[in-house]
């Protein structure tokens, strides 16, 4: 049974509708990649799942989010609060700013254990130090007493991961966890997350704009464009047979070793801002296969059990190198 079942989730800010009927399902022990360019609504999805939309002046305007048989949409705040940090945890994009600069990092991890697991200060501290050690932070007892500004970005992000794990959650939502880090560190952090999922049987929603990361780490993929799902499938299938033109373009953009100079591909145009979406299929202004019908409404087709694609001309491409 799916741990997380998102069904037609829509998010509104004022009169705008930045997320429109997003659907996906995630089981324990699996990693779901949520891909899209900036402005596609990825972070909003994360906030919606955590129930933090009011903090940015947004609200769920439709749909349902079921977390292990509990309906999260409309859940009373006190109940939601007991879930956050305990059964579902968030890792945000910028470790530079997601830690409280005035507190030692250890205390910030301990806080979770003390709040949700009823640990004593000493027990929480021991547990945090152990967590840091598991995340391959050398000399974790010393690091526990340090302040955020005394650490590198990669270390900070591991602390944030530790904070997420301290409540022993079942679901982790990682919103672009490596975007703000050096390239060399990125692979390490992704590997840490993958290992955690496999070892502890967690479910992970990995939000990223990098198809390369998706290929490396994820089991299933949801491709977002302008607030709607363009395509979703297992990772092997989507790379083998990308069906939506946007997915195909994204995959074509991944740089390959040995590529001829000057042959890097991009996608013409820019992601539209909320409020200036095209009618019908929101991708059609940038799509090579656009036809007049694309300005009419776009249905979601279900071709197979795990494969969904939203395009009038869905045509799987051959395998890509």
């Amino acid at each position: 049974m799916a741990l997380l079942d998102v069904s037609d989730l829509s998010v509104g800010i004022g009169a705008l509708q930045p997320l429109d009927r997003i659907s996906f399902a995630l089981k324990k022990g699996r990693i779901l990649g949520l891909v899209g360019e900036s402005g596609s609504g990825k972070s909003l999805t994360a906030m919606a799942l955590m129930g933090l939309l009011p903090l940015i002046g947004a609200r769920v305007s439709g749909g349902s989010v079921r977390f292990d048989d509990t309906e999260l949409v409309g859940l009373p705040e006190e109940v939601y609060r007991s879930l956050r940090g305990r059964r579902m945890a968030l890792i945000t994009q910028n470790p530079m700013t997601s830690l409280d600069p005035m507190l030692r990092v250890g205390a910030q991890i301990d806080q979770v254990g003390q709040l949700h697991l009823g640990l004593s200060a000493a027990a929480a501290k021991a547990s945090s130090i152990d967590l840091l050690r598991q995340l391959r932070i050398p000399d974790s007892a010393t690091v526990h007493q340090q302040y955020p500004h005394q650490m590198s970005g990669g270390m900070k992000q591991r602390v944030v991961i530790a904070m997420a794990l301290a409540g022993e959650p079942e679901l982790i939502i990682a919103d672009e966890p490596t975007t703000a880090l050096d390239v060399t560190i990125q692979a390490q952090i992704i590997q840490i997350l993958v290992d955690l999922v496999r070892q502890r049987g967690l479910a992970l929603v990995l939000i990223t704009h990098d198809m390369g990361v998706v290929a490396q780490a994820c089991d299933q993929v949801v491709v977002l464009y302008a607030g709607r799902v363009a395509e979703s499938n297992t990772v092997d299938a989507i790379f083998a047979r990308p069906t939506h033109p946007y997915t195909q373009a994204l995959i074509a953009c991944i740089p390959r070793a040995g590529q001829a100079p000057g042959s890097l591909k991009g996608i013409a145009g820019m992601v539209p801002s909320v409020g200036s979406y095209a009618p019908g299929c929101r991708y059609h202004p940038r799509c090579g296969k656009a036809q007049p019908i694309c300005q009419g409404e776009v249905p979601v087709l279900q071709l197979q059990a795990e494969h969904r694609v939203a395009c009038h001309f869905a045509q799987p491409q051959g395998a890509h190198g």
């Binding site: 955590m50 609060r81 879930l83 956050r84 945890a89 968030l90 700013t97 302040y147 500004h149």
Partner: protein, 308 residues
């Protein structure tokens, strides 16, 4: 922490020296013979000679400065020309009044300022917020001495609730403290409000919510602590304004204190007193700033590392 305090104290020395040089030079920059500026008209040659010996007035300037400095540390600040008393005595008499006024005004500003600023932030855009903003505008733009005079006119003259001037009763403290304090409240309130709103928007606050902490706990245990930082910064940078405000308001309310002493002696050209008062007031500013810096260092680990 101790490291920081030691270094910070060390920094005080050159600052003090620089300020003391400027104050020392006043007597020599003013038109007229320094000797005449330090002694009453019609003094006998013996008295002048005694003065010269005491302050080394026949020596080169640098030596004179060192003599002056040495005298300072032994409590010899010279003698007042008009009142014919040691400056040290005059200052010792007036200092407690100024201290009382200054510290009360400071406490009043800080407490009321933080409270109103926090309220305005929590109830943003409500009538509470708008009233506080209006108060801030008034407090920061109205000249303090006018405010003082208004207070006197309204509360002392018309309503007769408080004495018009002087320092005979404790009620005489109310209006002066309010006058100085209002300006401070405006400053602290504005900074507190802005800081709380600003901090509330930061990423780590989002993370605190994501960890499952309650809104109230987040505001009180985390946001407020952060918001206090800019408040302390502003207060420690602007601690001087209390000194400035006290000087003005003491004069307006005709209260005894270093401020009125300074003004009257300036008008009377009683330079030894002027120097003594300026020195004391400057020390007050420097010590206040030092204290503020140390409090900041205690609150924010990043500050402690800044003097490495």
């Amino acid at each position: 922490m101790l490291n920081y305090c030691a270094k910070r104290l060390l920094l005080l020395v050159p600052v003090f020296l620089a300020v003391s040089v400027v104050i020392f030079m006043i007597i020599h920059l003013v038109p007229g013979d320094p000797i005449d500026n330090m002694i009453q008209i019609g003094s006998s040659p013996e008295q002048k000679a005694a003065l010269i010996a005491r302050y080394g007035l026949d020596q080169p300037l640098l030596l004179q400065y060192s003599v002056w400095l040495r005298n300072l540390f032994t409590g010899d600040l010279g003698d007042a020309i008009i009142m014919r008393r040691p400056v040290f005595e005059l200052i010792a008499e007036n200092l407690p009044h100024s201290l009382r006024l200054g510290s009360l005004a400071f406490i009043f500003s800080t407490v009321v300022g933080i409270a109103t600023g926090a309220l305005a932030a929590v109830f943003k855009d409500s009538w509470i917020d708008r009233s506080v903003m209006a108060l801030i505008l008034l407090g920061s733009t109205l000249p303090s001495f006018w405010l003082g005079l208004l207070m006197i006119l309204l509360f002392a003259v018309q309503l007769e609730w408080f004495p018009v001037s002087g320092a005979r009763t404790w009620t005489a403290l109310v209006l002066p403290v309010l006058t100085i304090g209002l300006h401070g409240v405006a400053l602290v309130s504005r900074v507190t409000r802005a800081a709380m709103l600003d901090v509330g928007r930061r990423d780590f606050v989002l993370m605190l919510h994501a960890k499952g902490l309650s809104h109230r706990r987040i505001q009180l245990q985390h946001v407020l602590r952060h918001a206090l930082l800019p408040v302390v910064t502003i207060l420690s940078l602007r601690i001087g304004w209390i000194v400035g405000g006290a000087v003005t308001i003491e004069f307006v309310f005709a209260r005894p204190g270093l401020g009125s002493l300074l003004i009257t002696s300036l008008a009377q050209r009683d330079y030894p007193v002027v120097q003594g008062c300026l020195l004391m007031l400057a020390m007050a500013v420097m010590l206040g700033t030092l204290l503020g810096d140390m409090v900041q260092a205690a609150m924010d680990p990043r500050v402690r590392d800044s003097l490495r």
